[in-house]
Symmetry: C2
């Protein structure tokens, strides 16, 4: 199979403050390795697809930083969206341009800021999904069997398997983030899977399905040039100006009879906060401490120490996140790391603190 | 009374790492105010004595930094000891030079790195001690009634009061740092006081007592010029070369019949670790957080946040010390702050971490 990775790298977010700031969102941060997560995403599929074959969609003001993060990807294939329009327009555009890869190519839409392990297993499943998508003219998404009643993720309800024992299932329904009781049920009923936001499809199948279920977006895509280049900038501007802001789940996947969900055998999480850095046993010491950058931990347990330059030293503390980034030091309990937004909100309202945002 | 403050500023120590490093010990750090503690010490007595009347004894390699910390003190009166010889030689030298202040002058030896509050009360008691020292030809030290069974301090056992109701007592004994059981007893028997290391005396009385109890030091002092100046450097070298390393407590106070101890009415502590910054209700917010430098604390209690530049942000943590100094961030529970030496010891043995010492 000829794989055309389409990496979505337009996210914003404050959950990794103080490392992340507006100009440097999560996918551009070296959270899980010494490379930015975007580069990790590219490396993960490199054995299946050369960087020259990839498309990267990001926000226009992040495009330069994204190009710097993945210098092997031709600059013209790193597309800066003039405005965020959720995933459906981005995937329509990528599908339009991915047709250039010719018959037999399969696009793989990959979020740029998730953890997926082990990479080898992921590639094997991605390859199988691409084959299945090609054989069946399907749009395959990946669903991960829940390991906990997570309320922070969307879910996919799997229907019948396409064949006995196959990991590929019909899609019964897409589910929004559930409340705690529903999440408990989802986590144990064996039918609900975490929605990874990964989609694998032949470009022309996606375009046909857009035509059927989101004709406005399909029509706008047809007005685009066949590839980026001189003049494309303006076309891009018009496209994003007119495109409705809608997710591919809602625009296509919930309605298409070509949707399949693959039960994933790899470990996945959305790296939702600093606490996620401690989610993988990889890289943790015997006491469950995870360190990035220089750290000196004495009698510490479960500490996530993330430093850019300098030294983080800690003594006798447990289950803390300690981040040092630029001119900010941030400390909080691991289980409250997602509340960092409260601090960012206070930075917003306090003029003296604005420079630290 | 004409007061001649003799401020001892030669201490070393690692308890305020990472802010303190070898070249910047505690007395040169702005721990309790925006000024270095040495400058706080000078300011505390300024209403009683002009900076021009002060002597400051420090280590030779700290002399320039000390002069910078107290620019009002004439540079020649900031004396850099070529080697540390404990307090007796330093006090002998200061007494010898303080004679220059003439009859009726009273020297007040003051450690440069302690917390004393309120300053006004301290000055009042210091003035009374100086009067008493002058009237009685005494060496008055201050003892603080213990507020807890502290094992980290030396104690003075007070004897009879010089007059009924007087705060001035004979000295029954000096006591080394006690074990926990002994400290419990000291804290409750009403006779034992914390040894502050403050001494108030007419210079000639100290010289006479040195003559009687530490004649070697007294003889060496007599070989010094009457004041610092050209040639004094060499004399200083010889003096410290030959002087025994011995404390004034041991050399004089334990043996002298002129020793008195004043029961102090001010609050005092030796600012022994980062935790001490939380010892005073002054400067704490409603949740007991003490911050220096820019800090943003959300839902925190009892946090000591000390930053040089930049921002310390914390969320949902309690009773932690968080320090950001230079290129080091340090986090530990308040009640383990004195263990910072363990980290410094590890910096010693790890070549990679040596730069952070």
């Amino acid at each position: 199979v000829r794989l055309v990775p389409v990496i979505l790298a337009g996210g914003r977010g404050e959950r990794f403050w103080p490392l992340s700031r507006r100009a440097r969102p999560k996918q551009l941060l070296p959270l899980l390795s010494a490379r930015p997560m975007l580069a990790d995403t590219l490396e993960r599929v490199r054995p299946l697809a050369s960087p020259e074959a990839c498309w990267i969609l990001t926000a226009r003001d992040l495009a330069e930083a994204a190009r710097a993060a993945v210098p092997d990807v031709p600059p013209a294939r790193v597309v800066g969206e003039p405005q965020g329009r959720n995933t459906a327009p981005a995937i329509a555009l990528a599908s339009w341009w991915a047709r250039g890869a010719g018959a037999g190519a399969v696009a793989a839409v990959l979020p740029s800021d998730h953890r997926i392990e082990p990479a080898e297993r992921f590639r094997e499943e991605l390859r199988r999904a691409a084959e299945t998508a090609l054989e069946r003219g399907a749009i395959v998404t990946f669903g991960v069997p829940p390991t906990r009643p997570e309320t922070g993720y969307g879910y996919i309800e799997a229907g019948e398997a396409v064949a006995p024992g196959s990991p590929f299932h019909a899609v019964a329904a897409f589910r929004e983030k559930p409340d705690a009781a529903t999440a408990e049920r989802y986590a144990s009923d064996g039918r609900h899977l975490w929605n990874t936001g990964i989609f694998v499809f032949p470009p022309e199948v996606m375009l046909v399905e857009l035509e059927a279920h989101a004709p406005q977006i399909a029509a706008l895509a047809r007005d685009l040039p066949a590839a980026p280049g001189p003049g494309a900038e303006e076309a891009l501007e018009r496209f994003y100006e007119s495109a409705p802001s809608i997710s591919i789940d809602y625009a296509v996947m919930e309605r298409s009879r070509r949707a399949l969900v693959a039960r994933a055998g790899f470990a996945w999480d959305d790296v939702g906060s600093w606490a996620a850095l401690g989610a993988s046993p990889e890289g943790a010491d015997g006491a469950g401490n995870v360190t990035r950058g220089r750290a000196l931990l004495e009698d510490c347990r479960g500490v996530i120490a993330f430093g850019e330059g300098g030294l983080i030293a800690a003594l006798g503390v447990s289950d803390l996140v300690i981040v040092r980034a630029g001119d900010v030091t941030f400390v909080c309990p691991r289980d409250r790391a997602q509340e960092v937004r409260r601090l960012v909100a206070r930075l917003e309202t306090d003029d003296d603190l604005r420079p630290f945002r």
